[in-house]
């Protein structure tokens, strides 16, 4: 029987979880319910935290454990809770009204995935752990952009922004040995937390003055 080194197991685990992130992302694109979308975001962040945990375990890197824990607390527990509370507090209707219907969106995201693989191709030699993680990261960034334009509710746009951020963090893990230096990881973490809180304040104020969360109504300023 062929022996499998720990590094290979780690690599396969990372690949598996990155693939799961992609699956969750595709579910998010076609999800029409707001609360379910937030839950999907939490699940996707959980896999990101898992990837960091696996890397920390197989490389004995203490600071990456910290990154995993921060991701777990911040993006799996705190941010979903914050967004959930926001949704309940302003009592918005549940359903998202996307510009493109689900099959179209799925088709587009399929092509984004292809594009992601094409773009990542020259850099695959750089991936330290796992396969195709960079391609998935780029796909996440692209679909995040797509979500931003496809959905008009302010909170779903916040989710789109978080999708892009997840993609970038995955790219950081894919391309470098242990992710970014700790001080940078901390900076990014606090920025994301504060950003979502400030966006929450803005969403609340927009809701108060427009009596709606539809950002396509924000169209008075032109030229």
């Amino acid at each position: 029987m062929q022996t499998v080194t720990p590094a290979q197991i780690g690599s396969q685990l990372v690949t598996l979880m990155a693939a799961l992130m992609l699956v969750v992302q595709l579910l998010l694109v076609v999800q029409r319910m707001l609360l379910a979308s937030i839950r999907l975001f939490a699940i996707r962040s959980f896999f990101l935290a898992g990837i960091a945990g696996v890397i920390a375990f197989f490389h004995n890197a203490t600071h990456v454990y910290l990154v995993a824990v921060l991701t777990l607390i911040g993006k799996v527990v705190f941010l979903p809770w914050l967004l959930n509370r926001q949704v309940r507090r302003i009592r918005i209707t549940q359903e998202i009204e996307p510009m493109l219907n689900a099959p179209m969106a799925m088709l587009l995201c399929g092509s984004f995935t292809l594009l992601g693989y094409v773009v990542a191709r020259p850099f695959t030699s750089l991936e330290r752990l796992g396969n195709n993680t960079l391609a998935i990261a780029i796909t996440l960034v692209l679909t995040g952009f797509f979500l931003m334009f496809n959905r008009r509710k302010a909170i779903t746009q916040v989710l789109a922004l978080l999708t892009v951020e997840n993609g970038v963090m995955l790219a950081a893990v894919a391309l470098t040995t242990y992710g970014m230096p700790l001080v940078v990881e901390l900076g990014i973490f606090f920025d994301v937390m504060v950003a979502v809180m400030i966006l929450g304040i803005l969403v609340y104020r927009i809701r108060e003055s427009f009596d709606s969360m539809d950002t396509s109504k924000l169209s008075q300023l032109k030229g």
Partner: protein, 491 residues
């Protein structure tokens, strides 16, 4: 004395102190005092950098070279002017019941934090920390844009934070690619991500990675710097923010993003040794200039017009740097400084006009403003002359420096395009200003404020501009040449 530490923490501490102070007047005076102090400190920093070349603190976490020192000076000067203006401005808004005391406190808490964020951008040695600081400036300024809580200002704030954050996510991706290049060239598991270290090993980096990193950084920081076609948030945010914030956004915030972009440009050029990043910068710079000019001509809102003028000036700075001769880079840096001193005066005047006329629509404001608020109009006309590039103001010299440098470098086509864009916006601004400032008023307007509202702040900025236009101190000239050397890669 730990200069950099003081410069960084003084505004942050004051921002927190303003949470506790009882009255707006006190908060305003404390801000003025602090920014006055940071201005003195930044002049001291300038001297130190001239003497020692590079200053580091906290074990190399904070790093200041000539370029950083120059930016610190600009941030301090504009912050001082803005806080000088803000006290009276918000007092009048409070009297008019246009704003609540809570919101005024919000302004005096967030503005120093915004400034501290900008200081961190230019003083951080680590490129990742620099990114986090740029994001922090965006986050601290977005609630300032939404300060008046009008539907339009909420819209502007939403666009600003959404486009800004999307852009900055791309910039982070660019930053990650640079770090990946650093990891690849270095067998150590966690190589240093410090600027001072990166520059020494830049020639070892994978060119392909650095190229893609620069493209992402250009799209990302370019959005924040307001380069066309990613500029769409800029006129909204600059017109809807309260005037002291507009002045900060236009005067320094755009240049801070440009500074971050320049660091990537310097690194890319050092790695590739070719004009890859330069050509891209040139394209975006020229496009911004050419796009801004027609928008100035047809603009119907005073502050939006000023915002498009900022777009044009940022385009010129970019173009000057992209032409990449010592003369044009020097001209671009000169232009950066002069523009930072000019544009706030125009935004302050626009703030006064807004408070007197209760509108920013050019059609409803003018003509004949000179009869209503003579002091404001006089200063606005002078600053307007500076902004369109008339002597004796410095922008005339810096524009001429860039154009003549371009011609001397054989870039005739670029120079002609720059000249054409400048002439177009010259006509646009001149026509719009004369339309509202001169003539006889159509309707009776009384000026409810005192006649000299905001005049000290405007006179301070304009006086400094005039002084440095006529006489550029030797130390400042030296530091600019050094900074130009850093950008041009000769040092």
């Amino acid at each position: 004395m730990p200069l950099l530490t003081f410069i960084l923490f003084a505004p942050a501490a004051v921002g927190l102190a303003n949470l506790l102070l009882p009255r707006g007047r006190l908060m305003a005076s404390l801000s003025v005092l602090t920014f006055g102090a940071t201005l003195v400190l930044s002049i001291m920093l300038l001297e130190q950098v001239l003497r020692f070349g590079v200053i580091t603190e906290w074990d190399g976490f904070l790093y200041a070279d000539a370029l950083s020192a120059l930016m610190v000076l600009l941030i301090s000067a504009v912050s001082l002017g803005s806080s000088l203006y803000a006290g009276r401005y918000f007092q009048r808004d409070l009297d008019d019941k246009a704003i609540t005391p809570g919101r005024v406190r919000e302004f005096f808490v967030l503005t120093p934090l915004f400034v501290a964020g900008m200081f961190l951008v230019v003083l951080a040695n680590n490129l990742g920390v620099m990114w986090a600081a740029v994001e922090a400036t965006a986050l601290s300024s977005v609630l300032l844009v939404a300060l008046y809580n009008r539907p339009t200002s909420l819209e502007a704030a939403w666009k600003y934070i959404m486009l800004g954050s999307l852009g900055l996510a791309l910039a982070l991706l660019g930053t990650v690619f640079v770090y990946a290049a650093a990891c690849k060239s270095n067998p150590q598991p966690l190589p240093s991500f410090n600027w001072s270290h990166l520059m020494t090993v830049a020639h070892l980096f994978d060119p392909k990675l650095i190229q893609i990193a620069f493209v992402f950084a250009l799209l990302g920081y370019g959005t924040k710097a307001g380069l066309a076609p990613m500029h769409t948030w800029l006129p909204d945010a600059h017109s809807e923010a309260p005037s002291p914030t507009s002045a900060m956004l236009s005067g320094v915030s755009l240049k801070i993003a440009l500074y971050a972009l320049l660091r990537f440009h310097i690194l890319t050029t050092a790695c590739l040794g070719s004009g890859f990043s330069r050509h891209l910068l040139l394209g975006f710079g020229l496009f911004s200039m050419l796009l801004a000019a027609p928008f100035i001509l047809v603009q119907r809102n005073l502050k939006r017009m000023l915002a498009y003028s900022s777009l044009e000036h940022v385009g010129l700075i970019c173009t000057g740097i992209a032409l990449n001769t010592p003369v044009t880079i020097f001209g671009a840096l000169l232009h950066m400084g002069y523009h930072a001193l000019t544009k706030p005066v125009l935004f302050f005047a626009a703030g006064n006009i807004h408070q007197t006329c209760h509108t920013l629509e050019l059609r409803l404001i003018g003509p004949g403003l000179v009869k209503v608020v003579p002091a404001t109009v006089l200063l606005m006309a002078l600053a307007g002359m500076a902004a369109i590039g008339l002597p004796p103001f410095g922008l005339f010299f810096s524009e001429l420096t860039v154009i003549s440098g371009g011609i001397a470098a054989g870039q005739i086509a670029v120079s002609v395009l720059v000249l054409a864009a400048l002439i177009l916006s010259f006509c646009g601004l001149l026509q719009q200003f004369t339309r509202i400032l001169l003539g006889t008023p159509k309707q009776e307007r009384k000026d409810p404020g005192t006649r000299f509202d905001g005049v000290p702040a405007m006179a301070f900025m304009l006086g400094t501009l005039l002084l440095f236009s006529i006489w550029l101190p030797e130390s400042l000239r030296k530091i600019m040449h050094q900074a130009a050397g850093i950008i041009g890669g000769t040092r």
